[in-house]
């Protein structure tokens, strides 16, 4: 049976791991390849790097970090942030990433999702959706959560899958960095409408939140940053809670799952 994945996310700016609250107030939290290796050892099922500087002149730094990580951590790596073309996606994959996540560029140019899926396969294309609750619905935001669009998050999720996205990374802007738990309503609204795996993001405080994202939100995978970087919770304790709730998880070293 397919395991539910626990994915540490490393927000990378200028070659360092950072984390802010609601996409701002960044704090330095370490060296990406070093943290990546630690997480792989501790039982992370996958890793996500989000390059939140994403300035074109910094591409080289990101590619170097991706390659150093791929040589140290033998688990899958998704890289997002600033990829705007098929060629840029190719460079990131060749540096050692398995998947690329498209966000602002996918909204601006939906054809990019199809072009990348045709060239590299849907399984390599993740569409990241940053959503802010607006009454009973959710609005898609771009540019690191700073700019509203006219898109409804659920409708955009369905469209992204039609275009060729093989996975969706759904972040609740309301919850991100707040520790209030994942927005399971948002997750459920999307997982009810698409058949590709959905990664839940934004708001994790404790192991119970991971359980809720899967059980109530229907997520296939759950992503978090701060609680792992700051060692508030270990991947093992999160997985133990998921296993105790009857969710299938991959055993991590030194912990029964």
């Amino acid at each position: 049976m397919l395991r539910r994945r626990v994915i540490p996310c490393l927000d990378v700016a200028d070659g360092r791991v950072v984390k802010g609250t609601r996409f701002v107030d960044l704090v330095d939290e370490g060296d990406p390849p070093e943290l990546a290796e630690r997480y792989a050892r501790e039982g992370a099922d996958e890793l996500v790097f989000l390059d939140i500087t994403a300035a074109p002149e910094r591409r080289g730094t990101l590619l170097d970090i991706v390659e150093r990580t791929a040589r140290r951590a033998f688990i899958p790596l998704t890289v997002g942030g600033g990829v705007r073309s098929v060629d840029e996606m190719r460079d990131v994959l060749r540096a050692g990433a398995d998947k690329v996540s498209l966000n602002t560029a996918a909204v601006a140019e939906p054809g990019l999702v199809s072009a990348c899926a045709r060239r590299f396969g849907s399984q390599a294309v993740v569409v990241a959706i940053d959503a802010l609750r607006d009454g009973a619905a959710w609005t898609v935001y771009v540019k690191g959560g700073r700019e509203a669009t006219s898109l409804d998050a659920v409708a955009w999720a369905e469209r992204a899958v039609d275009l060729g996205a093989g996975e969706l990374l759904v972040t609740s802007i309301d919850r991100d960095g707040t520790g209030l738990g994942f927005d399971t309503g948002l997750l459920r609204a999307i997982t009810d409408r698409v058949s590709v795996p959905v990664i839940a993001s934004g708001g994790a405080a404790g192991p119970d939140d991971f359980v809720a994202a899967v059980r109530d939100g229907g997520a296939d995978a759950v992503l978090a940053a701060s609680i792992f970087h700051r060692r508030i919770h270990s991947i093992a304790s999160v997985k133990a809670a998921m296993a105790a709730a009857g969710l299938p998880v991959r055993a991590t070293t030194g912990v029964a799952a």
């Binding site: 994945r5 994959l93 590299f120």
Partner: protein
């Protein structure tokens, strides 16, 4: 002997991980963009993800299809990973591509899957024992990322080494002589994945010794 392994590069995806995984297993890795790299190689690895037709086109353009098929037909050590396994069959339902055809059967969509693509860690259940899985528990988790899987014909069913369940059972590893293929990504499957790659390198070494013995 340090075996030399040619990893075929046809312009799609991540080669760093498989190269690093094989190097960590004491193999000498050469990236093959044309058949010249096969001359000094002891084994060939075809990695890759994505669709069959564009992959076949790029392999064709690089003049690699015939050398690969000849390599496999001569029973020289070969490992296909993910798409590299699917290409061993005759055709792919994904886009109708004609593939290597060294195994009878075709690549089919995982139609009964609850989610597609099938992305994540899943159990690899062996049908029989094989040195490729030495030291790896039956049912160990490996990382998958695909929507299609190669399905052998009933006559060619004996090539099946392992299966995995995702809505229905599909073939997750094959072996016939020195021809090996895995649907999962050993280079992305942590310690068990590295062990599998090391087992492959050990098999390449054994095959090399057997050839040397025959020659002497």
């Amino acid at each position: 002997m340090t075996p030399r392994i040619a990893v075929v590069d046809y312009g799609a995806g991540n080669l760093v991980s498989i190269e690093q995984g094989l190097t960590a297993s004491s193999a000498d890795v050469v990236i093959a963009r044309d058949a010249g790299a096969f001359e000094s190689a002891d084994a060939v690895v075809v990695p890759g993800v994505g669709a069959a037709a564009p992959a076949m086109e790029r392999l064709q353009t690089a003049g690699l299809v015939e050398p690969i098929v000849e390599w496999i037909t001569a029973d020289r050590p070969f490992l296909g990973v993910c798409l590299g396994l699917q290409l061993l069959f005759e055709t792919s339902d994904e886009d109708g591509a004609r593939t290597f055809g060294v195994l009878e059967g075709r690549t089919q969509r995982l139609d009964r899957a609850p989610t597609l693509p099938h992305i994540g860690w899943n159990q690899v259940e062996r049908r029989r024992s094989h040195p490729l899985f030495d030291g790896i528990a039956d049912g160990a988790d490996f990382y998958f990322v695909h929507s299609y899987a190669g399905t052998p014909t009933t006559e060619d069913d004996d090539v099946v080494l392992a299966e995995t369940e995702h809505g229905g059972r599909f073939v997750s590893a094959v072996a016939r002589g020195n021809l090996l293929g895995v649907q999962f990504h050993p280079e992305r499957s942590g310690d068990d994945g590295l062990r599998l790659l090391a087992n492959f390198v050990a098999l390449v070494r054994t095959a090399g010794r057997a050839t040397a013995d025959m020659a002497s």
